[in-house]
């Protein structure tokens, strides 16, 4: 990510330390992750020590300090999805893209996470890719869905 762009985002929030979270969220959503130089720049411009920024960036799951894939795969392992076979869905996905929850594949194509209930249990087991919900999944259907994404 260009430092100029980071500065623009910071300026949009008037360079105020109280907007730190919002600034980090903006960078995260634009860049998919928070590189260390970027955090350093934010620290410098807002005059907030890097150790505090690091604490915040590691505290919230919304932030990532490592590169994320182009597609975010969230597998629901909440109770309802679990009893409907979420474990098998998760296994299928792990095998298909070769990564575990919390990881990103080498081509930066997919990042995998598990979540605990997406709020649509009637559709379980549920897989969400880039915010789009795929319901009533089976291992076969899951493999089909993954193929849609490039």
């Amino acid at each position: 990510m260009e430092i100029d762009r980071v500065d623009q985002i910071i300026d949009k929030h008037h360079g105020e330390a109280s907007s730190l979270l919002q600034i980090l969220l903006d960078i995260q959503s634009e860049n998919n992750w928070l590189p260390r130089e970027v955090l350093g720049r934010v620290s410098e411009k807002l005059d907030v020590p890097l150790n505090q920024i690091q604490h915040i960036a590691t505290f919230y799951k919304a932030f990532s300090l490592v590169p994320k894939g182009r597609h975010q795969v969230h597998i629901c392992v909440g109770t309802a999805c679990h009893v409907r076979g979420a474990t098998r869905i998760l296994d299928t996905v792990e095998d298909a893209i070769g990564i575990k929850p919390g990881e990103t594949d080498l081509d930066l194509k997919f990042s995998l996470e598990t979540v605990n209930c997406l709020g649509c249990c009637a559709l379980g087991p549920v897989v969400e890719v880039n915010g789009k919900v795929h319901g009533k999944m089976s291992p076969v259907k899951t493999s089909e869905v993954l193929k849609i994404y490039e």
């Binding site: 350093g40 020590p49 890097l50 150790n51 604490h55 590691t58 505290f59």
Partner: protein, 203 residues
Amino acid sequence: MKEIQFEIDGNQVTATEGMTLLETAQSAGIFIPTLCHHEKLEPFGACRLCIVEVEANGRTKLVVSCVYLSEENIIVRTRSEKIDRIRKTIIELLMAHAPDSPKLQDLAKEYGADKDRYEKEASFCIHCGLCVRYCAEVTKKNAIGFVDRGIHKEISFIPEIAAKECNDCKECFPLCPTSYLQAAFVLTEALAFPATSKSESKE
């Protein structure tokens, strides 16, 4: 400033407004055990060891004395069967992380805590925050911070800052109750700036 009168362990004590129970007790020479308290630092309330009983209007409650402000006419008990039991459990839990900490061993002796009561999870740091807070509040270098949260919470040096500041400071080292801080520093040094420390030792 307004004076506040109350009772700790049967002694009449006087506090000025804004003083915590712990500060008042200390000024009256009454001992309350602490792990995360430091007089130069803002109250943090992390270890809960300084827990005491407060009786007000006929009701008794448990409060953490290093963050609880003195109040008129309350009755504070720094030791009771209940308090001792709670402190014993806290010590036992912390010892699952740092069984060899001399500070915890002394406390264990005092409260009859069994270091093997809980399964060991030797993470060594007990999250007292003394190092992090000292570096932020007193030396104002911010070379060390917490990362992550809950059971994954850890201390972490910022290598860029640590490389410049820590070798000439190390004021936080004696504060750590478990020596994990020193270990984390050596590790950071070895990974991030081994050259600086080598030239240092040659001088």
